[in-house]
Symmetry: C2
Subunit: 157 residues, 2 copies
């Protein structure tokens, strides 16, 4: 039956694949107020790409998938707008952040700052001689952590 079933799979709907053997993390979803503002931050600022946009009638929502990898590579962000949402997204104390590996944290942060992005923690090592970490806010106020992932860019390197 596998062949017959696979033949019926629409890849545009089964975007996360239809032959996985094991579970994996696919994406993190954030409700946003303004797709254009989010794309300026995540695409123009951080360098992500836009993969797809869907209008999901059954959930009364629009969503866009963005990330550095493709669907198979995982680690995407889903930006969502609910058609009947009342007011902009609000924040509790629970959700923390997404963390992005930044080979050049200094350059990435400089670019974001030039775009007017709010920096809430300037680069510093949080534990001993570990990588430097910075925090910024996306257009909806979600925290985004930048973690240095290349040591020859590090202080003293």
């Amino acid at each position: 039956m596998t062949d017959a079933t696979t033949a019926n799979v629409d890849p545009h709907l089964w975007i996360w694949g239809w032959k996985d053997e094991k579970p994996r993390l696919l994406h993190t979803m954030l409700r946003v107020k303004d797709f254009d503002a989010s794309l300026r931050f995540y695409v123009d600022g951080l360098g992500m790409r836009v993969f797809d946009r869907y209008e999901i009638e059954s959930r009364r929502a629009s969503c866009m998938f963005i990330g550095f990898n493709d669907y198979a590579g995982g680690g995407l962000i889903e930006l969502a707008q609910y058609w009947d949402a009342e007011g902009p997204p609000t924040h509790g104390s629970g959700y923390g952040h997404v963390a992005i590996g930044a080979p050049d944290i200094t350059g990435m942060l400089a670019k974001l700052e030039a775009m007017g992005v709010e920096v809430t923690l300037r680069p510093r090592a949080l534990i001993g001689a570990g990588p430097r970490v910075a925090f910024v806010k996306d257009p909806d106020g979600y925290a985004v952590e930048l973690i240095e992932t290349r040591s020859d860019q590090a202080v003293g390197g």
Copy 2:
């Protein structure tokens, strides 16, 4: 300088790597009330593994990294407890969920339900003949989406 710098890198602190060429999504952080309850859900229930636990004095927080992959593979979740937190994590309207690819969504959901996990959406295709999707709640009330990622387990397959 690269060799000298790399020689100084402590892999236990540079857990996300120190030779990355490109940015990538590393993890999603959620504040939780009770690590043990979270581990029952994410490890015993969903099948993730625990990688490391850190006590971060400078942030007055404890954190654990869990996931299906290792650090290099990305797509991890950071569970965090802030030492000075007042009360359990609260939820706004903004943060949505993490989505997990489930080759066997029926089996995964049955296991979670047997553990007493709350199911907020039973498996159904959200768009046409796409994969079935379910929603459950983790012990802190965060939504977790399960997306079918194997078509020969699908209805009629």
